[in-house]
Amino acid sequence: MSTSFEPERELAVFIGTIGHYFKTVGGALPDFLAPTLELALPARLDCTGYMPVSGRLTGWIALSLPSILLRALLHHMGEDRQDEAAQLDLVAEITSTLTSNAREHFGEHLRVAPPLAAVAGDFPDELTAPPLSFRLPFQWHGTDAFLLIALQR
């Protein structure tokens, strides 16, 4: 657990855990591409897991994945069922794993609330759209997805 908290470095560690997940469960690291800062909330892909954070930083971190990537991941995991419910379930599982790791890493510096998973056009009522978001696209087996960091001022 961290004894001091440097927000940027800690968030970078968090992003690293996403790569670790895909490497461990999916067999290959994703390729992270150049990020953008977005004034409007970007359109999300088919399934998105939202991870609310509070403490030294307030806002949420979201992992947005397309259906084709989720189906590929389910297939890689030996899952026969790959419908929308299974995809949403997988996003939930991924974000649950990430938040669990984050809690262990950040401790009390950054509290990570129970994640929320939603389909493309839905945005959880519990969350607030940020004034500016950090969109980090990545590719896994050639499929585009992205991570969204949305902090409040």
Binding site: L11, A34, L37, A40, A85, D89, S96, G107, P124, L132
Partner: protein, 267 residues
């Protein structure tokens, strides 16, 4: 709104009582069987990961596969069964004030509460989903994942990028600031400024996140007025010409990253 909460890491799992009727002919990876072997008794994914010295991600995926094959189930008890085996509960607290969960976020997780209108899960919902009210206060900190299907009454706003700033190719930022090239007469080249800010956090993703935090402090209206709707950190050509935005950036860069952009610009 439909909600559900799988908690593959926090929940405890155990073998199904009738697993023997389904196990014949099942072929799984050795690691998955190793996880199955642990589940003669109730365990969480984290506990098994620790015992087997595996990644919790792998154990979670293994449990998921075992659940799908109905070899393993989430370990839940009726209150009557729990009460018959559990130690006596402490006396009730005298305070009537509700206190939000204050246990460490990483504390072990117990069962979730459900205070929402009853929700009947669809047949396709995985067996470890439970219903949960997202706003209901849980008595103990836990980590449920709540799946939402919200009726799309209002479409999510979509970005309408008015301009794109290409600061650098699709690779991490350099760890040191780039020298500022001659500033156009009425503008400020942004790339060296972003590099200088990023360098304060060691470059790479951390540096890009510091750039984000600096821009986060700038009033939204200023960025809108400057037509700055989407700022891509992969372009080398953007010149900042909006005086108020430049002033705001100078202030936030100085305050939050210790970078004096006017000195950079004058260099």
């Amino acid at each position: 709104m439909k909600t559900s909460a799988p908690t593959p890491l926090a929940d405890r799992y155990i073998r199904c009582e009738d697993f023997a009727t389904r196990i014949e002919g099942v072929e799984l990876a050795p690691d998955v069987w190793a996880v199955f072997a642990q589940l003669a008794q109730s365990h969480t994914a984290a506990e098994i990961a620790q015992q087997l010295k595996l990644d919790v991600e792998s154990v979670s995926a293994a449990i998921r596969r075992l659940v799908r094959r109905k070899l393993v189930r989430k370990h839940v008890l009726a209150w009557r069964d729990y009460a018959a085996t559990a130690a006596p509960l402490p006396p009730p607290a005298t305070t009537t004030t509700f206190e939000a969960p204050s246990a460490p976020a990483s504390a072990p997780v117990a069962s979730t509460t459900s205070a929402a209108a009853p929700y009947a899960p669809s047949r396709s919902v995985p067996p470890f989903y439970v219903t949960s009210a997202p706003s209901a206060p849980a008595p103990i900190a836990r980590s449920p994942v709540i799946s939402l299907r919200i009726v799309p009454t209002a479409a999510s706003p979509r970005p309408a990028p008015a301009m794109s700033l290409r600061i650098e190719a699709s690779r991490p930022l350099a760890s040191s600031a780039s020298p500022v090239t001659k500033t156009p007469a009425d503008g400020l080249r942004l790339r060296p400024v972003l590099d200088a800010i990023g360098a304060k956090a060691g470059g790479g993703i951390a540096g890009q996140l510091l750039v984000y935090r600096v821009f986060l402090q700038i009033p939204t209206e200023l960025m809108q007025a400057a037509g700055l709707h989407s700022l891509s950190l992969v372009d080398d050509h953007f010149t900042l010409r909006h005086p108020a935005l430049r002033a705001a950036l100078a202030e936030t860069a100085r305050r939050h990253a210790g970078v004096d952009i006017e000195t950079l610009a004058a260099a």
